[in-house]
Symmetry: C2
Subunit: 203 residues, 2 copies
């Protein structure tokens, strides 16, 4: 059985060291030389395993979205799909605030010469599938009105924006306000009451 083939061990160790270095020292201190030293190897190992620094960062990018996907998958089912949407929003924010450097890596561009390749962008977008599903379910039961995918993208955009400003210190970090924010977003997409004509902004 062994602890794994040497390849996997080395790759996993480099990735783990890089992750923790990013968390502890920030993206500017994330150098191949430091990673190699901490992983007790040479910079060349990073090249064979990841093809270079952008390749390593891409792996970190994907692992970040994988963690987000796992957390969102772990959100329990509620009888009310609206409740599930709310829980997904809070979980998203919780993951982001708990791993700020990783979140910035996933949504910003804090490391030079790294642009997420198409595949990784697709993977990132697919992370929102649980939200799309919950919105679709809410639409099916008449709790929301509109195209599920469009609505889910709106929720994602709004949630990301809030978290992003919080992480930058441009708005205050406030759990209650974040929760109220999510509720407003949801309510903005509830079907209009029967008897309510168009109220405004109809074009």
């Amino acid at each position: 059985m062994s602890d794994a083939t040497p390849d996997e061990t080395m790759r996993a160790r480099v990735l783990r060291v890089a992750d923790s270095l990013l968390d502890e020292a920030g993206p500017d201190q994330l150098s191949l030389r430091k990673i190699a030293e901490l992983a007790d190897t040479s910079t060349q190992a990073v090249y064979t395993q990841f093809g270079g620094k952008p390749g390593l960062v891409d792996a970190m990018y994907r692992s970040g979205y994988q963690r987000l996907a796992d957390e969102l998958d772990g959100v329990p089912d509620f009888a009310d799909p609206i409740e599930r949407i709310r829980a997904l929003g809070l979980a998203y924010r919780r993951v982001a605030l708990a791993n700020p450097e990783h979140y910035k890596l996933m949504t910003g561009r804090p490391i030079a010469d790294f642009d997420a390749p198409r595949d990784s962008l697709r993977f990132a977008a697919s992370t929102m599938q649980p939200l799309v599903d919950a919105v679709r379910e809410a639409c099916d039961v008449g709790a929301l009105d509109g195209d599920p995918r469009t609505i889910a993208m709106r929720f994602w955009a709004a949630g990301h924006g809030r978290v992003s400003l919080e992480l930058q210190g441009l708005v205050e970090v406030d759990d209650d306000e974040a929760s109220e924010y999510i509720d407003r977003l949801i309510n903005a997409h509830r079907p209009r009451r029967t008897g309510d004509e168009h109220t405004a902004a109809d074009g």
Copy 2:
């Protein structure tokens, strides 16, 4: 009077060259040596004028928010404050999409060793004052309900999130959808009709 002191000339030229280089080549190609060459001077000039690369980038950061502030100030007054809020949102997005690299510099962290200092963060936040004012006016006339500053920050967060995902290619760039998105945000903060009790999410 006069074309300005040599200091101002040099400072302005370096800043202008840096801005255009950022736009044309992206943040990774923004090196002091290249800037100095394009500005027909040496790297030392950047140090006397800006104190180093982070200082130069800070000046670019502030000039970016200054341009945004100018654009938002240029949004005409409407009879309906809601119309003004809508126009501010569209103007914000227009500025961001027209200067993607600058917008990323202002909201992301694409350049190593640059963290916006407190003063610059405050200045950035103050850029949203026209939005706060418009929201306050809308609240005064009963078109919106809630704390103006809180609502304005929600609009900002949501707008930034949308633009950010668009710039990253995580959602499609779509003017009509962006407009609809803004309307939904606004409608989510309209006062409840008289006779409507609390409908949901009242905590």
